[in-house]
Symmetry: D2
Subunit: 339 residues, 4 copies
Amino acid sequence: MVVVMKPGAAPEDVDAVVSRVEASGGSAFVSRGVQRTIVGLVGDIAAFQTLNLRAMPGVGEVVRVSKPYKLVSRENHPEATTVSVGGVPIGPDTFTLIAGPCAVETPEQTLQSALMAKAAGATLLRGGAFKPRTSPYAFQGLGEKGLRILADVRAETGLPVVTEVVDAADVALVAEWADMLQVGTRNMQNFALLQAVGSAGRPVMLKRGMTATYEEWLMAAEYIAQRGNLDIVLCERGIRTYETATRNTLDIAAVPMMHSLSHLPVIVDPSHSGGKRELVVPLSRAAIAAGADAIIVDVHPDPTAALCDGPQALYGDDLDELARACRELPPLVGRRLVS
Amino acid sequence: MVVVMKPGAAPEDVDAVVSRVEASGGSAFVSRGVQRTIVGLVGDIAAFQTLNLRAMPGVGEVVRVSKPYKLVSRENHPEATTVSVGGVPIGPDTFTLIAGPCAVETPEQTLQSALMAKAAGATLLRGGAFKPRTSPYAFQGLGEKGLRILADVRAETGLPVVTEVVDAADVALVAEWADMLQVGTRNMQNFALLQAVGSAGRPVMLKRGMTATYEEWLMAAEYIAQRGNLDIVLCERGIRTYETATRNTLDIAAVPMMHSLSHLPVIVDPSHSGGKRELVVPLSRAAIAAGADAIIVDVHPDPTAALCDGPQALYGDDLDELARACRELPPLVGRRLVS
Amino acid sequence: MVVVMKPGAAPEDVDAVVSRVEASGGSAFVSRGVQRTIVGLVGDIAAFQTLNLRAMPGVGEVVRVSKPYKLVSRENHPEATTVSVGGVPIGPDTFTLIAGPCAVETPEQTLQSALMAKAAGATLLRGGAFKPRTSPYAFQGLGEKGLRILADVRAETGLPVVTEVVDAADVALVAEWADMLQVGTRNMQNFALLQAVGSAGRPVMLKRGMTATYEEWLMAAEYIAQRGNLDIVLCERGIRTYETATRNTLDIAAVPMMHSLSHLPVIVDPSHSGGKRELVVPLSRAAIAAGADAIIVDVHPDPTAALCDGPQALYGDDLDELARACRELPPLVGRRLVS
Amino acid sequence: MVVVMKPGAAPEDVDAVVSRVEASGGSAFVSRGVQRTIVGLVGDIAAFQTLNLRAMPGVGEVVRVSKPYKLVSRENHPEATTVSVGGVPIGPDTFTLIAGPCAVETPEQTLQSALMAKAAGATLLRGGAFKPRTSPYAFQGLGEKGLRILADVRAETGLPVVTEVVDAADVALVAEWADMLQVGTRNMQNFALLQAVGSAGRPVMLKRGMTATYEEWLMAAEYIAQRGNLDIVLCERGIRTYETATRNTLDIAAVPMMHSLSHLPVIVDPSHSGGKRELVVPLSRAAIAAGADAIIVDVHPDPTAALCDGPQALYGDDLDELARACRELPPLVGRRLVS
């Protein structure tokens, strides 16, 4: 960390900072400039943060230089991680298609969606049994009954299952039925939930909070990692901006940025980013080209009857286009489609 | 709701919309314009939303006109609500000062903070025992021990207690000790938590999500209300914008806007909005002048030693200035300071 | 347009709206619902907007339904436009690489940059002679001297020139030397400049304003088109969001969205979006895959000595990677690289 | 400035940074830490910025510490400035009400608006003759004819005139008729215009760009100041955020923040911030309470007939409420209403 003193800070102010740092076991290097004095700190950042240096007399700014996350950082773990979900890899050499219905509605709709997904090249099945909905009056998902449907469809299709969990109290139940636990955008800073999935013994897909910075997202991953679970996949799903013509703004640069900051796989959700069917294929192509390790896509056999997010579900020709992109694009960025 | 057909939509497309609406028990009025046809719907909005009209052939846009929240809306409940917290009112004729430490650290620090708060005119004590922190390496609060300290300080000072709850599993415990439950910004869409506090039999302070729209905020309140608890106070605490010089951007217009959309009290947190001590008094003055029913302010006897958010805690002269503003400004906007 | 009356609006209020609309030459269709009355308007939107219906008694909301832009809209001109810049096409069947230095510094640096660009497959040369800079103390460009250097380099390399103009007073001068006029992000709503380039007889590249909506961007294009110039290319260059780890957030969905709203070509600037060299190639790949008609990239023979935006300029291996992407990706999305 | 080397940067990389800094006439202090080496620079920041240190091998980050603006900064000019507009002060001890029509439409409407403004306590008249409009099809103002109307109304009422200028080519004309030149939000980074008003010999009101940071806003002011004109008033008018229920989000903290960063007066436009009549009075009260030196408010004798922004213009009871707030609130924050 670097402490920047205010112009005109007294020498005793500088001394007080140095003393406090040294008392905590760190070292402080003072550079007295013409306009300002700067103090560089070396030692344990976490300890420095409890010192409250920003509140000391004469202190202008405290600039953090090291990263506040450790277990998930690339700096401390240069090699890219591959996460295995029921035997299906998500990692640096491959490209994985995850697809399925937004919400599990019936056994038939779920099976049909899974078969459509598989035909398009998907090797993992998505599907929501617990749905976080903005409105208390909207369909909230089938709960445990939905989990059972997913397990049945897995048995029939062979596709491992990714599904969301929305409350720490449900983690054990969901972990019993699912191959991968999804933490949704609204829960990215639900710390009790993060800690629970960190102890659940299942890989976790951590969606980016609607307005989370890269750093906050990685800190959320660090909460999971701290419980011993490093099988984490980061999912960019669009952020909230002033532009309302799309549901969210897909931050495509998050793919290379997160790959440079972290060793974890980074995937993209093109369905929830754009919120419109006609955007799913172009955004999927962009995600593959930008280096995503996987994409997760909504499909539905009859979108006009879907209970959740019908307007963005793929089917028919669009799904064929997606399948073609998943076959043709990965080789151009040094990957092969997992099949 | 209004359905706007695409230019060139076929008459059968329009008929299909009308049929689906009527089949659900609603009525549809068709206006055929030169460029487009518009279908106005009358009936049960919640039912219309499940119809997935947006996905039907020929449909361009579906524009919602009624409000999606009911129990908390001003339209359905024109009179402003007063919420009583341990006998202290928060409502349209009064102005209430809520103050205390960001985090409960020790019995002494909590008591001293409470006495400072009371001397400045506060009639409710804030203080965090369960702290949601971005970093897993930061101080996470004292938990139940902190709740006991708060109860002791209440006994000594007579100030009812407002404290945060971060997990649905803790709601019963916190409700046992506290007079008002606070739902923090990161949990505004933690629906399990909202439902739990809705059943806890205590008034709730619902902070605005960091990037929640007014409507999403009111939908979150609706989740609480739906469980039978209408003792809800809405707290504006700054939103996330591109400007990083302040911690958040206080959306001062939220005070009159939320008062016009909802019958619930609206309060402001000037400490977490700005994140800087020197902003607390000006923002508090602005909040009172804009019509806030209360403000909630961090105080600390020794901010440089605070374990949480020291740089924004008030003490000394600043606290005197705040006290003066709380006495002098409310009468100019038709309110009296609760004492 | 649709006028939504407030609940409880008087019949006379509705009549007054209808009368005002009819007096302006339009038609009004009234649907009286249970909660509200809705009035659909048919006729000349521009005329309706001057009626100030929103301010009339009993009016709740006025919802616009038609697009406010005409000349640049896809609705009124379904076929995609190809813009020719000194004989080089930018349009639906091709992919064009535009490259060159951020700023023209010397004849040598400009020529070297142009040769690098050409070797990588570029067929248009970018380079700034007039530079809009946030700080008055930063390098402001060489002005007319820079334009002459660009013309010399065009003569030597055969690459037509794209360069920025920042003031309406300079448009004639820049149009004399350049093949395409660029309007920068800070000037997207400099209406005097838009009108001047609309009359300059040169194709125009219109960068998206830093926080312009799609609609505002198209309205800015409409200003140019209204002066008779429809040779407009829209350039997405990243928008401002709360995320500060990248210079801007590239809104990749703008490519398919703008293609659906407008018949004009849509291109991407991956250099200014990310502001980091290591992001340029991944973002370029994403842009091509998403369907961009061209990209515009900063190159520099010696980025550490660049007077402007050195950290994002490509050279060496990165430039080879970009060249490869420009050859290999376009055929997968039905395009051929212009050469 | 502080240069933070990457972990594992070679000693020669550090030496190269030091040499380049020293070659430019600065000094460099090296602190070798356990994880990273930090180099503190002392000397001329502007010179350092041209060194392109960020692009050198081994460099991780370059953190700027000093402010990039000088003439308008509080650091270099601790005393608050009072700007005089035709004899009317805007400064630290007073509160000034500026009011008038959004656009000059006719002599009668302008005079009536001015009389309403004066009766409410205004001592400066606002009114637009040149209007920057998002749509080329909207009313663009009366131009020079409007300026003459404003001058006539000034002669009749004694109120000095504030009016907008939108193109550098018009500055001399507008300066001939007006007492203060307004630069609008869309032109905050129209550098040719800033330089022109810097040389025009009239005080300037500089509105904040729709998404300008505090620093960019001050850099824009620095462009004006650099031409010798320090009679600059900064106007907060709301910023663009994800919330669309209000036209913009009034950043009320900008008032104390800009007062601490700059010696220039800071005022607020409550009409364009909220875009709704019912928000103008609460936001005006908030602005005065937060310490604004003035507010600028739209009034209109017949808002339903206004050619521009009718829905936010005050009249009748609302205007009386505003007048009362302007009389009663300033004394509570140590100011007197200019009369």
